[in-house]
Symmetry: C4
Subunit: 291 residues, 4 copies
């Protein structure tokens, strides 16, 4: 009995490395398969939304959809089983995403109309970033994140200013242009102001009076100028957040050992226990050979 | 009598800290309430401008509007009363904004048609920046302001060049495209040129002749390129204006004592008198406990 | 006779300082008057182009136009007379601009139809930059110019790439979308490509086929991304070209003595002869007092 | 026989320098001729696509086209002949481009309809960069390339995020706006989202519902903000990749000797053999004088 359990434990550990890890060939293949499945399922959802395609190939699309959903369901339960502490995964961001990615399809079996929710699975794409850990992406992405986090409050102040400008000028344009020129309400005028300030410029609403056009010109030049502010902030923060060249290469050459209790990545090559929860780390080569 | 006056004085000082300060819990709550009121009042003004909503809920909106206006009126007089030198506040930027925020409503009671001016109160949003003083916003905002102030003359030169280009090319397009293609006057042609140069591109006016389209392409690439100029300027100035890391943390940990005579913020923790006007600073903890 | 000539010479020198210099009160007033005249004349030209205004106030506009033209003619001849070497001015950039600014009006007296050329005078605005020499503008403008000059070849390479992309994708879209969707010729397709790449997006031509929209999306993201290139170049060059703080202040405090032979600005405070042509410099205070 | 062969060899070497080199007067002239031919041929292709011009001048355009094609064919065979190892050229990027540039015309002689492919020759423009080697372009272009290469993975992460946002918001808008407002399918909604996110804003599809406009405003501000990210990345990478001033001038003053076996550029002035393949380098001055 103990023997069986031990073999099951070893299988669980091996599966954990394949599913959560990215530094073994099997782990890489698993991630690539998931990535392809995600892209395929998004394609199916998109094609379904195009009426003429859906009419012709409805059955093929539906069957593909079900196959993908079942594969994702298997993946979901595999992820739960191979974790020592399944709730850690279930309640995590990716755990919820994974659940949301399979639920709508089952719901759609009972209820019709919730089908559209299936696009929520595009959020699953976020998990693909894990594959990129293989490459030097992690250093860069985390650097970007640091820069954006550091710029956060400054960009908030900037957006705050943009909103105040939009409300003031939007209200002003509502008074100047009036309903006859398409500025039917203040929210709509604010919508137009932001369309202009961000240099999008649909043209569905456009000022007709001379004064309105003068103010429009003012907003455009303002918008053209203030785009410099977030750019300046991010550039400076990003320049500041650049990692040391030496540190980066070390980080790249190391492949982390993922703890199958708390999912923490242990970069220390000599680590035999997770630095976070103390769980013994499963060292692939040796442990597999000597069960 | 003196006893009563002293208690009134103490009440005034306490109220001053609540209204003008942001570093006591009461002061924070006061600011949050004002912030909510501002947002609510802007929402009401917006909803009023949407015809179908106004028709249905006219009375509710009007009553809400009056309640907010009365609350803002109370706030306005509180701010005047709790200042030792009320004119200091009344004639300040925020004092005028506060007055402008309540006046239109009272005026609208006598005169119909000035109602729209109520949106001027969106300027009140500027006061919300005071709440942010709690956080590290002040360092950043002032840094941004420094960068923009330093870039001012350079950006003026840049805008100057943009205007000369717009006038020259606008006039040229008026000659090339002519009235039949929507370029009915030079101001309108200049309007189109700026719409194109800033990459807004409404499409309400678009060149039809080959030469006109060629010049349009030229303007677009020019506009696409010269956006680099303000961005470059702001980035460099911003990079230059970065405060010393050490200074910033000190600034963040300190909560200023606001003088209730001149409203100056005293960051020196040991200060008992305003460094600006010499008025004794009201030190919350001790003074409140020992009246 | 010699006495008269000498007084004429002194008058010429004084007039030269007023007209070409900016560091005497009279020189500043002269520049401000010219600036106002330029702005007024541009306003007149603009108003003339608006049909309804021209119909009503045609006579007033025409008279204003003639008065301005005569004043500019006087200024032109004053500039020629007060130079020791008039051809130096006549053949300079500003000399040609000044001539072009007055010629069209006289030509329009003889020939009808050349009237529109009057807008060429907007180029006169360029001379306004001289006023800005008063302030710290010169340092900044020249710094910007240095940055742009240094970025020149890199931006040329960038524009070169933009043009190749436009030609290739424009031709592709002509094949994909075809005449029925508004892509009537390759030049027109290229026009559309640049409209999209620079994120202007008029919407007068828009892809209708699925493949066309897919390529459009590709161009948009490309355009969105490559705007980073000129911005990066200008920012780096601008950061590099920043003048030494110490040098700048010296430059600002000095008011140059303008040589009335070669128009060179002599910044050396002790200079009595032009460093460029050796002509004795007219030193306002002393020379005027001791003729 | 040996003598003839030797003279042919010398002619080949001289031709090789003219065709592949840019640092002899003849080589420069050759490149300029090719450049003019390329521009002329693109102009012809463009004019052919404009219906009214093609109808009038069809014969002239066709003859010009054939002349250019024949000249390009001669150039193509010259390039093959003058290489010691012709396959090196034939299978290179430029070799394929050169072939593609002449093939469509010959194909169009047999098959009608492939004529449009002639625009592929605009890719030939890429070869024009070789001319620019004369000037200081090479340093700059390679610096730009270094910066872009270094930013590659970061920009990929950025585009990845843009795509996820587009898919999620596009699907959302499809649900919110629906078919009656132009959002007929998810791919079309994603197209609209990218049009808005990149601030292009055609206006062919525009949100009509209040919620749709609110989300549109959100996307615009997002797009307006995230443009800062690639700009920040490229700026920082570009700033980092700036070459040493001293190295650059050395690079510019040297004119490389191009090996006619492997086409490697030898910058070492004293080199007599190619550092890459060991082939003796043809030293123009001396070798030509002493055959």
């Amino acid at each position: 009995m103990k023997e069986t359990k031990s073999r099951y434990e070893i299988w669980k550990q091996k599966a954990h490395i394949v599913i959560y890890g990215t530094n073994t060939p099997a782990g890489r293949w698993f991630d690539i398969c998931i990535l392809i499945l995600i892209l395929l399922s998004i394609l199916v959802v998109m094609l379904e939304s195009v009426e003429e395609i859906d009419r012709k190939y409805h059955d093929i699309l539906l069957i593909t959809e079900w196959i993908i959903t079942i594969l994702f369901t298997i993946e979901y339960f595999m992820r739960i089983i191979t974790m020592k502490n399944p709730w850690k995964y279930i309640l995590s961001f990716y755990g919820i995403i994974d659940l949301v990615a399979i639920l709508p399809m089952y719901l759609s079996y009972f209820v019709t109309g919730t089908h559209v929710l299936a696009t929520v699975r595009s959020l699953r794409l976020l998990r693909v970033f894990r594959i990129m850990k293989l490459m030097r992406f992690i250093g860069e992405a985390s650097q970007l994140r640091t820069a954006l986090k550091a710029s956060r409050t400054k960009i908030a102040v900037f957006l705050y200013a943009v909103l105040i400008i939009s409300v003031v000028i939007g209200s002003l344009m509502f008074v100047i242009e009036g309903e006859e020129n398409g500025f039917t309400s203040i929210p709509r005028s604010i919508y137009w102001t932001i369309v202009t300030l961000t240099t999008v410029g649909y043209g569905d609403i456009a000022p007709q009076t001379e004064l309105g056009q003068f103010i429009a010109v003012f907003i455009m030049i303002l918008g053209y100028g203030i785009i410099a502010v977030p750019t300046g902030i991010v550039t400076v923060e990003y320049a500041k957040s650049r990692p040391q060249e030496s540190d980066k290469t070390i980080l790249q050459e190391e492949s982390p050992k993922i703890c199958n209790q708390c999912n923490t990545e242990n970069y220390n090559t000599k680590a035999r226990y997770c630095y976070h929860c103390g769980n013994p780390l499963f060292l692939p080569e040796r442990d597999v050979r000597e069960p």
